[in-house]
Amino acid sequence: MAYAPIAGFAGAIAGTDSRWQSLITNHGEIQDTLTPPIVDMPRIITSTSTSYQTRLRFYVRRNLAGHSVRFVIRAAATTGTGTLRCYVGGNSNTAAVSGGTANYTIDVTGDDDAECLVEMKVTSGGDSITMYAVQAYLVTDGAEQEWTAVGTRWYTATSNAVPQRVVDDLLNGPALLLQDRMVPLCYHVSDIEQAISGKTFEVWGTENITTQQPIGRLWIPQNDSAIRTCRIDAYTTATGSANFRLQVGSKIISWSSTGWLSTTMEIGPGPLDVWAYVTPTASTNAAIRTLQIWRGDY
Protein backbone atom coordinates (compact mmCIF):
# COMPACT_ATOMS: atom_id res chain seq x y z
CA MET A 1 0.00 0.00 0.00
CA ALA A 2 1.44 3.35 -1.01
CA TYR A 3 1.80 6.23 1.36
CA ALA A 4 -1.16 8.70 1.27
CA PRO A 5 -1.23 11.92 3.29
CA ILE A 6 -4.28 12.25 5.52
CA ALA A 7 -6.34 15.30 6.45
CA GLY A 8 -5.19 17.31 9.47
CA PHE A 9 -6.50 16.39 12.93
CA ALA A 10 -6.50 19.81 14.48
CA GLY A 11 -9.53 21.29 12.83
CA ALA A 12 -7.49 23.63 10.71
CA ILE A 13 -9.31 26.70 9.43
CA ALA A 14 -9.03 27.85 5.86
CA GLY A 15 -7.51 31.25 5.24
CA THR A 16 -10.72 32.38 3.62
CA ASP A 17 -12.62 32.04 6.91
CA SER A 18 -14.13 35.44 7.78
CA ARG A 19 -12.88 35.16 11.38
CA TRP A 20 -9.30 35.34 10.12
CA GLN A 21 -10.24 38.45 8.24
CA SER A 22 -11.44 40.10 11.46
CA LEU A 23 -8.35 39.08 13.45
CA ILE A 24 -5.93 40.16 10.74
CA THR A 25 -7.72 43.49 10.32
CA ASN A 26 -7.66 44.05 14.09
CA HIS A 27 -3.94 43.14 14.16
CA GLY A 28 -3.22 46.14 11.93
CA GLU A 29 -5.75 48.43 13.61
CA ILE A 30 -4.14 47.91 17.03
CA GLN A 31 -0.77 48.89 15.59
CA ASP A 32 -2.35 52.08 14.23
CA THR A 33 -4.41 52.89 17.31
CA LEU A 34 -2.51 51.96 20.48
CA THR A 35 -1.16 55.33 21.69
CA PRO A 36 -1.45 55.63 25.48
CA PRO A 37 -0.23 58.96 26.87
CA ILE A 38 3.40 59.65 27.80
CA VAL A 39 2.31 62.57 29.98
CA ASP A 40 -1.23 63.84 30.57
CA MET A 41 -1.16 66.40 33.36
CA PRO A 42 -1.98 69.86 34.66
CA ARG A 43 1.09 72.08 35.14
CA ILE A 44 0.76 75.84 35.46
CA ILE A 45 3.83 77.73 34.23
CA THR A 46 4.09 81.39 33.21
CA SER A 47 6.79 82.81 30.97
CA THR A 48 7.86 86.45 30.55
CA SER A 49 11.24 85.70 28.98
CA THR A 50 11.95 86.87 25.42
CA SER A 51 14.40 83.97 24.96
CA TYR A 52 13.39 80.32 24.86
CA GLN A 53 13.54 78.68 28.28
CA THR A 54 13.22 74.93 28.76
CA ARG A 55 10.40 74.54 31.27
CA LEU A 56 9.60 70.80 31.12
CA ARG A 57 11.77 67.81 30.24
CA PHE A 58 10.77 64.17 30.16
CA TYR A 59 11.67 60.97 28.34
CA VAL A 60 9.75 59.03 25.78
CA ARG A 61 10.88 55.43 26.19
CA ARG A 62 9.68 54.03 22.93
CA ASN A 63 10.94 53.01 19.54
CA LEU A 64 10.03 56.16 17.62
CA ALA A 65 11.16 55.16 14.16
CA GLY A 66 8.47 56.32 11.76
CA HIS A 67 6.40 57.94 14.52
CA SER A 68 5.75 61.45 15.75
CA VAL A 69 5.08 62.70 19.26
CA ARG A 70 2.02 64.91 19.54
CA PHE A 71 2.07 67.58 22.24
CA VAL A 72 -1.29 69.14 23.13
CA ILE A 73 -0.60 72.15 25.32
CA ARG A 74 -3.36 74.18 26.96
CA ALA A 75 -2.10 77.74 27.11
CA ALA A 76 -3.09 81.41 26.95
CA ALA A 77 -1.42 84.73 26.25
CA THR A 78 -2.22 86.93 29.23
CA THR A 79 -0.46 89.91 27.63
CA GLY A 80 0.87 90.15 24.07
CA THR A 81 1.90 86.93 22.34
CA GLY A 82 4.44 84.14 22.69
CA THR A 83 5.71 80.85 21.31
CA LEU A 84 5.78 77.23 22.48
CA ARG A 85 8.57 75.02 21.14
CA CYS A 86 8.66 71.26 21.65
CA TYR A 87 11.65 68.98 21.07
CA VAL A 88 11.88 65.23 20.59
CA GLY A 89 15.59 64.48 20.56
CA GLY A 90 17.05 66.80 17.93
CA ASN A 91 13.76 67.55 16.15
CA SER A 92 11.47 70.45 17.07
CA ASN A 93 8.33 72.31 16.08
CA THR A 94 6.62 75.47 17.34
CA ALA A 95 3.20 77.03 17.88
CA ALA A 96 2.40 80.73 18.31
CA VAL A 97 0.29 81.56 21.37
CA SER A 98 -2.16 84.45 21.33
CA GLY A 99 -5.47 85.32 22.94
CA GLY A 100 -7.40 83.34 25.55
CA THR A 101 -7.02 79.76 26.72
CA ALA A 102 -6.86 77.22 23.90
CA ASN A 103 -5.26 73.89 23.06
CA TYR A 104 -2.15 74.12 20.87
CA THR A 105 -1.18 70.94 19.01
CA ILE A 106 2.48 70.48 18.06
CA ASP A 107 3.65 67.35 16.21
CA VAL A 108 7.36 66.53 16.29
CA THR A 109 8.99 63.78 14.25
CA GLY A 110 10.30 60.97 16.42
CA ASP A 111 13.87 60.28 17.39
CA ASP A 112 14.58 56.93 19.01
CA ASP A 113 14.36 56.72 22.82
CA ALA A 114 14.48 60.49 23.04
CA GLU A 115 14.26 63.29 25.57
CA CYS A 116 11.31 65.64 25.11
CA LEU A 117 11.53 69.34 25.96
CA VAL A 118 8.79 71.95 26.25
CA GLU A 119 10.11 75.49 25.84
CA MET A 120 8.36 78.86 26.16
CA LYS A 121 9.10 82.47 25.28
CA VAL A 122 7.20 85.72 24.76
CA THR A 123 7.47 87.97 21.71
CA SER A 124 8.28 91.28 23.40
CA GLY A 125 9.26 92.56 26.84
CA GLY A 126 6.16 92.94 29.01
CA ASP A 127 4.33 90.06 27.30
CA SER A 128 3.21 87.07 29.34
CA ILE A 129 2.02 83.58 28.37
CA THR A 130 0.85 80.77 30.66
CA MET A 131 0.79 77.02 30.13
CA TYR A 132 -1.93 75.18 32.08
CA ALA A 133 -1.63 71.56 31.01
CA VAL A 134 0.42 69.27 28.80
CA GLN A 135 -0.50 66.07 27.04
CA ALA A 136 1.93 64.05 24.91
CA TYR A 137 1.33 60.83 23.04
CA LEU A 138 2.56 58.90 20.03
CA VAL A 139 1.17 59.40 16.53
CA THR A 140 1.72 56.18 14.62
CA ASP A 141 2.79 56.23 11.03
CA GLY A 142 5.37 53.54 10.53
CA ALA A 143 6.63 50.04 11.09
CA GLU A 144 7.60 48.70 14.49
CA GLN A 145 10.95 47.24 15.41
CA GLU A 146 9.79 43.66 15.89
CA TRP A 147 6.07 43.69 15.27
CA THR A 148 5.16 42.12 11.93
CA ALA A 149 2.26 43.09 9.73
CA VAL A 150 0.03 40.33 8.40
CA GLY A 151 -1.12 40.92 4.86
CA THR A 152 -4.67 40.58 3.62
CA ARG A 153 -3.57 37.86 1.21
CA TRP A 154 -3.99 35.40 4.07
CA TYR A 155 -7.72 35.75 3.91
CA THR A 156 -8.28 36.58 0.29
CA ALA A 157 -5.98 34.38 -1.72
CA THR A 158 -6.06 30.88 -0.33
CA SER A 159 -8.43 28.32 1.04
CA ASN A 160 -5.53 26.45 2.62
CA ALA A 161 -5.04 26.67 6.37
CA VAL A 162 -3.21 29.73 7.65
CA PRO A 163 0.39 28.66 8.38
CA GLN A 164 2.11 28.67 11.73
CA ARG A 165 4.33 31.72 11.08
CA VAL A 166 1.33 33.93 10.41
CA VAL A 167 -0.45 32.65 13.51
CA ASP A 168 2.70 33.33 15.56
CA ASP A 169 2.71 36.91 14.31
CA LEU A 170 -0.92 37.35 15.27
CA LEU A 171 -0.46 35.79 18.71
CA ASN A 172 2.63 37.78 19.62
CA GLY A 173 1.70 41.05 17.92
CA PRO A 174 -0.10 42.54 20.94
CA ALA A 175 2.77 41.75 23.33
CA LEU A 176 5.39 43.20 20.98
CA LEU A 177 3.40 46.41 20.62
CA LEU A 178 2.99 46.73 24.39
CA GLN A 179 6.70 46.17 24.95
CA ASP A 180 7.55 48.75 22.30
CA ARG A 181 5.09 51.41 23.50
CA MET A 182 5.96 51.58 27.15
CA VAL A 183 3.65 53.57 29.39
CA PRO A 184 4.53 55.39 32.58
CA LEU A 185 2.83 54.08 35.71
CA CYS A 186 3.41 57.36 37.51
CA TYR A 187 5.23 60.58 36.77
CA HIS A 188 6.20 63.97 38.10
CA VAL A 189 7.18 66.54 35.45
CA SER A 190 7.68 70.02 36.88
CA ASP A 191 9.06 73.42 35.95
CA ILE A 192 12.84 73.37 35.40
CA GLU A 193 13.08 77.13 35.99
CA GLN A 194 11.03 77.47 39.16
CA ALA A 195 13.04 78.85 42.08
CA ILE A 196 13.16 76.84 45.29
CA SER A 197 12.42 78.43 48.62
CA GLY A 198 12.20 76.29 51.74
CA LYS A 199 10.37 73.07 50.93
CA THR A 200 8.62 73.25 47.57
CA PHE A 201 6.19 70.43 46.86
CA GLU A 202 5.34 71.90 43.48
CA VAL A 203 8.78 71.01 42.07
CA TRP A 204 9.86 68.51 44.74
CA GLY A 205 12.73 70.61 46.07
CA THR A 206 14.21 71.97 49.27
CA GLU A 207 16.58 74.80 50.11
CA ASN A 208 18.97 75.13 53.02
CA ILE A 209 17.64 72.09 54.90
CA THR A 210 20.43 69.63 55.60
CA THR A 211 18.38 66.72 56.90
CA GLN A 212 16.63 64.30 54.62
CA GLN A 213 13.22 65.67 53.63
CA PRO A 214 10.25 63.96 51.96
CA ILE A 215 9.40 66.29 49.11
CA GLY A 216 7.21 64.27 46.77
CA ARG A 217 4.72 61.43 46.74
CA LEU A 218 3.10 59.31 44.07
CA TRP A 219 1.40 55.95 43.96
CA ILE A 220 1.46 52.85 41.75
CA PRO A 221 -1.96 51.17 41.65
CA GLN A 222 -2.06 47.45 41.00
CA ASN A 223 -1.20 46.96 37.36
CA ASP A 224 0.44 43.57 37.15
CA SER A 225 0.13 40.19 38.77
CA ALA A 226 3.87 39.78 39.26
CA ILE A 227 7.10 41.67 39.87
CA ARG A 228 8.37 43.45 36.77
CA THR A 229 11.63 45.21 35.89
CA CYS A 230 10.67 48.85 35.48
CA ARG A 231 12.75 51.71 34.11
CA ILE A 232 13.10 54.84 36.19
CA ASP A 233 14.08 58.21 34.73
CA ALA A 234 14.75 61.11 37.08
CA TYR A 235 16.04 64.60 36.31
CA THR A 236 17.56 66.44 39.25
CA THR A 237 19.08 69.89 39.83
CA ALA A 238 21.20 71.25 42.69
CA THR A 239 23.21 74.39 43.37
CA GLY A 240 25.65 72.41 45.53
CA SER A 241 26.11 68.77 46.38
CA ALA A 242 22.96 66.88 47.30
CA ASN A 243 21.60 63.42 47.89
CA PHE A 244 18.44 62.13 46.25
CA ARG A 245 16.47 59.09 47.33
CA LEU A 246 13.51 57.28 45.83
CA GLN A 247 11.47 54.70 47.73
CA VAL A 248 9.00 52.49 45.86
CA GLY A 249 7.25 50.21 48.32
CA SER A 250 10.09 48.90 50.45
CA LYS A 251 12.78 49.31 47.77
CA ILE A 252 15.12 52.28 47.79
CA ILE A 253 17.61 53.82 45.39
CA SER A 254 19.88 56.74 46.30
CA TRP A 255 22.10 58.90 44.13
CA SER A 256 23.95 62.20 44.25
CA SER A 257 24.62 63.18 40.63
CA THR A 258 22.51 65.86 38.98
CA GLY A 259 20.98 65.73 35.52
CA TRP A 260 19.39 62.55 34.23
CA LEU A 261 19.47 59.34 36.22
CA SER A 262 18.25 56.28 34.34
CA THR A 263 18.09 52.97 36.12
CA THR A 264 15.83 49.98 36.69
CA MET A 265 14.04 48.61 39.71
CA GLU A 266 12.07 45.44 40.37
CA ILE A 267 8.55 46.70 41.02
CA GLY A 268 5.27 45.01 41.58
CA PRO A 269 2.64 43.94 41.70
CA GLY A 270 1.27 46.97 43.55
CA PRO A 271 -0.35 48.96 44.95
CA LEU A 272 2.81 50.72 46.14
CA ASP A 273 3.53 54.10 47.67
CA VAL A 274 6.27 56.16 46.01
CA TRP A 275 8.25 58.62 48.14
CA ALA A 276 10.96 61.03 46.99
CA TYR A 277 13.51 62.62 49.32
CA VAL A 278 16.12 65.33 48.81
CA THR A 279 18.99 66.31 51.10
CA PRO A 280 20.86 69.44 49.98
CA THR A 281 23.89 70.83 51.77
CA ALA A 282 23.75 74.08 53.76
CA SER A 283 22.79 77.24 51.86
CA THR A 284 22.08 75.34 48.66
CA ASN A 285 19.00 73.89 47.04
CA ALA A 286 18.16 70.68 45.23
CA ALA A 287 15.12 69.26 43.47
CA ILE A 288 13.79 66.26 41.61
CA ARG A 289 12.24 68.08 38.67
CA THR A 290 11.20 64.99 36.72
CA LEU A 291 10.45 61.41 37.76
CA GLN A 292 9.02 58.78 35.41
CA ILE A 293 8.45 55.17 36.42
CA TRP A 294 7.78 53.08 33.32
CA ARG A 295 6.01 49.74 33.17
CA GLY A 296 8.81 47.67 31.67
CA ASP A 297 12.36 48.25 30.60
CA TYR A 298 13.08 49.59 27.16
Binding site: L34, D40, P42, I44, A133, Y137, Q164, P174, V183, Q222
Partner: protein, 176 residues
Amino acid sequence: MATRIIDTVPVDILDGGFALPEASEASTNLLAAIDERQLRAMTSAGNPPQVRSCYLRSTSSNSWTIPLLRPPGCEWIDLAFLCWGTGTITATSTVDTTGTMLDVRNAGTAETSHWVYTAGIIDSAAGAGSGRALKVRSAIAWTYSATSLTITIDDVDSECGISAIATLPIWQPITV
Protein backbone atom coordinates in the same frame (compact mmCIF):
# COMPACT_ATOMS: atom_id res chain seq x y z
CA MET B 1 -24.65 39.17 21.09
CA ALA B 2 -22.12 38.08 23.68
CA THR B 3 -20.74 39.52 26.88
CA ARG B 4 -16.98 39.72 27.22
CA ILE B 5 -15.05 40.28 30.44
CA ILE B 6 -11.83 42.33 30.35
CA ASP B 7 -9.11 41.11 32.70
CA THR B 8 -7.82 44.04 34.76
CA VAL B 9 -4.43 42.49 35.60
CA PRO B 10 -3.24 41.06 32.31
CA VAL B 11 0.39 40.19 32.88
CA ASP B 12 0.51 37.23 30.54
CA ILE B 13 -0.08 39.11 27.34
CA LEU B 14 2.49 41.78 28.17
CA ASP B 15 5.19 39.14 28.46
CA GLY B 16 4.30 37.46 25.17
CA GLY B 17 6.82 34.98 23.85
CA PHE B 18 4.18 32.60 22.57
CA ALA B 19 5.41 30.23 19.85
CA LEU B 20 3.61 27.39 18.18
CA PRO B 21 5.24 24.02 17.57
CA GLU B 22 6.85 23.69 14.20
CA ALA B 23 4.61 22.78 11.28
CA SER B 24 1.35 23.31 13.11
CA GLU B 25 -1.65 24.76 11.33
CA ALA B 26 -4.11 27.29 12.60
CA SER B 27 -6.91 25.62 14.48
CA THR B 28 -10.05 26.99 16.05
CA ASN B 29 -8.68 27.30 19.59
CA LEU B 30 -6.06 29.76 18.34
CA LEU B 31 -8.69 32.15 17.06
CA ALA B 32 -9.91 32.75 20.59
CA ALA B 33 -6.37 33.13 21.98
CA ILE B 34 -5.44 35.77 19.40
CA ASP B 35 -8.71 37.60 19.91
CA GLU B 36 -8.26 37.67 23.70
CA ARG B 37 -4.76 39.13 23.42
CA GLN B 38 -5.89 41.78 20.98
CA LEU B 39 -8.75 42.87 23.24
CA ARG B 40 -6.50 43.10 26.31
CA ALA B 41 -3.84 45.06 24.43
CA MET B 42 -6.41 47.67 23.45
CA THR B 43 -7.87 47.88 26.95
CA SER B 44 -6.37 46.95 30.31
CA ALA B 45 -2.89 45.83 29.25
CA GLY B 46 -2.29 48.82 27.00
CA ASN B 47 -3.81 51.39 29.32
CA PRO B 48 -2.85 50.85 32.95
CA PRO B 49 -3.81 53.37 35.65
CA GLN B 50 -1.73 56.55 35.53
CA VAL B 51 -0.69 58.74 38.44
CA ARG B 52 0.75 62.20 37.88
CA SER B 53 1.93 64.94 40.21
CA CYS B 54 0.40 68.41 40.11
CA TYR B 55 0.02 71.41 42.37
CA LEU B 56 -3.53 72.71 42.50
CA ARG B 57 -3.98 74.86 45.60
CA SER B 58 -6.92 76.98 46.65
CA THR B 59 -7.80 79.20 49.58
CA SER B 60 -11.33 79.89 48.33
CA SER B 61 -12.92 78.36 45.22
CA ASN B 62 -10.96 77.52 42.09
CA SER B 63 -11.39 75.35 38.99
CA TRP B 64 -8.84 73.86 36.64
CA THR B 65 -9.30 72.17 33.28
CA ILE B 66 -7.03 69.17 32.83
CA PRO B 67 -6.54 67.02 29.72
CA LEU B 68 -7.51 63.38 29.53
CA LEU B 69 -6.82 60.97 26.68
CA ARG B 70 -9.70 58.50 26.93
CA PRO B 71 -8.52 54.94 26.24
CA PRO B 72 -10.45 52.63 23.90
CA GLY B 73 -13.20 50.57 25.48
CA CYS B 74 -13.44 52.78 28.57
CA GLU B 75 -16.63 54.60 29.61
CA TRP B 76 -15.92 55.27 33.30
CA ILE B 77 -12.85 56.13 35.34
CA ASP B 78 -12.14 56.11 39.04
CA LEU B 79 -10.17 59.08 40.37
CA ALA B 80 -7.85 59.41 43.32
CA PHE B 81 -6.44 62.66 44.69
CA LEU B 82 -3.44 63.13 46.96
CA CYS B 83 -4.64 66.15 48.89
CA TRP B 84 -4.30 68.27 51.97
CA GLY B 85 -6.32 70.86 53.85
CA THR B 86 -10.07 71.06 54.27
CA GLY B 87 -12.59 71.43 51.45
CA THR B 88 -14.31 69.53 48.69
CA ILE B 89 -12.96 68.32 45.33
CA THR B 90 -15.48 68.01 42.50
CA ALA B 91 -14.59 66.44 39.15
CA THR B 92 -16.81 66.75 36.09
CA SER B 93 -16.41 65.67 32.48
CA THR B 94 -18.05 66.80 29.27
CA VAL B 95 -20.49 63.86 29.43
CA ASP B 96 -20.93 63.85 33.23
CA THR B 97 -21.65 67.41 34.22
CA THR B 98 -23.04 66.36 37.59
CA GLY B 99 -19.72 64.80 38.31
CA THR B 100 -18.37 63.34 41.51
CA MET B 101 -17.39 65.03 44.76
CA LEU B 102 -15.01 64.00 47.52
CA ASP B 103 -14.55 65.55 50.95
CA VAL B 104 -11.08 66.46 52.12
CA ARG B 105 -10.65 66.63 55.89
CA ASN B 106 -6.92 66.64 56.41
CA ALA B 107 -5.88 69.94 57.91
CA GLY B 108 -2.17 70.30 57.33
CA THR B 109 0.26 70.90 54.51
CA ALA B 110 1.26 69.18 51.31
CA GLU B 111 3.74 67.18 53.39
CA THR B 112 0.90 65.45 55.25
CA SER B 113 -1.27 64.72 52.21
CA HIS B 114 -3.58 61.71 52.07
CA TRP B 115 -5.26 59.91 49.18
CA VAL B 116 -9.02 60.10 48.69
CA TYR B 117 -10.67 57.83 46.13
CA THR B 118 -13.89 57.54 44.22
CA ALA B 119 -15.82 54.37 44.89
CA GLY B 120 -16.44 52.78 41.50
CA ILE B 121 -19.67 52.79 39.52
CA ILE B 122 -22.43 53.10 42.12
CA ASP B 123 -25.33 54.18 39.94
CA SER B 124 -25.36 56.45 36.95
CA ALA B 125 -28.11 58.46 38.62
CA ALA B 126 -26.20 58.89 41.88
CA GLY B 127 -25.54 62.53 42.73
CA ALA B 128 -22.18 64.21 42.88
CA GLY B 129 -21.89 63.81 46.65
CA SER B 130 -21.87 60.03 46.37
CA GLY B 131 -18.19 59.92 45.48
CA ARG B 132 -18.90 57.59 42.58
CA ALA B 133 -16.73 57.03 39.50
CA LEU B 134 -16.81 59.61 36.72
CA LYS B 135 -18.33 58.89 33.34
CA VAL B 136 -16.02 60.07 30.54
CA ARG B 137 -17.76 58.65 27.47
CA SER B 138 -21.41 58.40 26.57
CA ALA B 139 -20.85 55.06 24.80
CA ILE B 140 -18.01 52.62 24.22
CA ALA B 141 -15.63 53.60 21.40
CA TRP B 142 -12.52 51.83 20.15
CA THR B 143 -10.19 54.76 19.53
CA TYR B 144 -8.38 57.16 21.84
CA SER B 145 -10.02 60.55 22.08
CA ALA B 146 -9.02 63.70 23.87
CA THR B 147 -11.34 65.30 26.36
CA SER B 148 -10.96 67.38 29.50
CA LEU B 149 -11.93 67.12 33.13
CA THR B 150 -12.81 70.07 35.32
CA ILE B 151 -11.47 69.86 38.85
CA THR B 152 -12.98 72.29 41.36
CA ILE B 153 -11.82 72.89 44.93
CA ASP B 154 -14.55 74.52 47.01
CA ASP B 155 -15.87 74.93 50.57
CA VAL B 156 -12.32 75.61 51.66
CA ASP B 157 -11.44 76.14 55.30
CA SER B 158 -8.16 78.06 55.17
CA GLU B 159 -6.48 75.98 52.44
CA CYS B 160 -7.05 72.89 50.30
CA GLY B 161 -4.78 71.43 47.64
CA ILE B 162 -4.07 68.49 45.36
CA SER B 163 -0.49 67.27 44.80
CA ALA B 164 -1.23 64.22 42.62
CA ILE B 165 -4.10 62.83 40.55
CA ALA B 166 -4.62 59.18 39.63
CA THR B 167 -6.89 58.10 36.78
CA LEU B 168 -7.94 54.46 36.88
CA PRO B 169 -9.90 53.19 33.87
CA ILE B 170 -12.82 50.91 34.78
CA TRP B 171 -13.09 47.92 32.47
CA GLN B 172 -16.69 46.82 32.33
CA PRO B 173 -17.95 43.73 30.55
CA ILE B 174 -18.69 44.69 26.97
CA THR B 175 -21.40 43.49 24.65
CA VAL B 176 -20.25 42.59 21.15
